[in-house]
Symmetry: C2
Subunit: 116 residues, 2 copies
DNA sequence: TGCGGAGTTGCAGAAATCTTCAAGTGCCTT
DNA sequence: AAGGCACTTGAAGATTTCTGCAACTCCGCA
């Protein structure tokens, strides 16, 4: 009775959550932010994508409430809005491992970097 | 050197994984399958979607390697390919909780069903 | 005040997803 | 072998998401 659209079913909200993570650039951003807040310019330096594109992807994450941003002088900083995100990425990694087992070279890469 | 396309970066595989979960019907299927293997007809009875549409979504999950299927007489059964999927859904639930806090009624619904 | 660096926003064309319809396969029952 | 239930597949139009360009805002500095 309080918020916006009470009729949005829970499973749809969940789907939107996952869909938000379903983009390479957005995944990379989240992985980088796991190490703490970072300015856009840093992300830009590591991700190889156009500035406007990165901004669009950051906006998607912001709208979903997964990251927050604030200005620090001339720079704009981004940070995870909750550390729980790390769990999600970790769980994703585990499934990927299970699924890719003996199904091409990614597995090797996966094992060799407990991070990323 | 073995599998299909070694050049597919890991973070892209991750993004695809999450994107696969980014659909309401697919989320529901996975939630239902957490209780064990089920025939399509059961899923169909609980999900309110056309048979052909459900089939398409099941195919997406199958291609991603998240579920497996096998025939049992006249029925086709589906099952999670790995129990790790439950962790992923649980992690998603946690983030949703964190993100939605004091941001509309879904929170209430979320708390009241540790399942789903 | 005028510049340049740092990001964001609006858009439009391109690409990927969804949804549904029609047709097809498999298996069981009679 | 005929019929019917249980699903899957193929295709096409509708919708959503991506990407890159151009224009714009905000801040710090000369």
């Amino acid at each position: 009775m309080r918020g916006r659209d009470v009729s949005v079913p829970l499973y749809q909200a969940k789907a939107e959550m996952f869909r938000t993570l379903g983009h390479p650039v957005r995944i990379r951003v989240l992985e980088l932010l796991q190490g703490g807040p970072r300015p856009v310019r840093d992300l830009l330096a590591e991700i190889d994508v156009e500035a406007s594109n990165l901004s669009q992807q950051l906006a998607v994450l912001r709208r979903a409430g997964i990251v927050t941003s604030f200005r620090d002088g001339a720079l704009v900083m981004y940070a995870l809005s909750t550390p729980d995100v790390a769990d999600l990425l970790a769980a994703g990694r585990r499934i990927l491992g299970a699924v890719l087992t003996d199904r091409d070279g990614l597995l090797v890469e996966l094992r060799s970097q407990a991070k990323s």
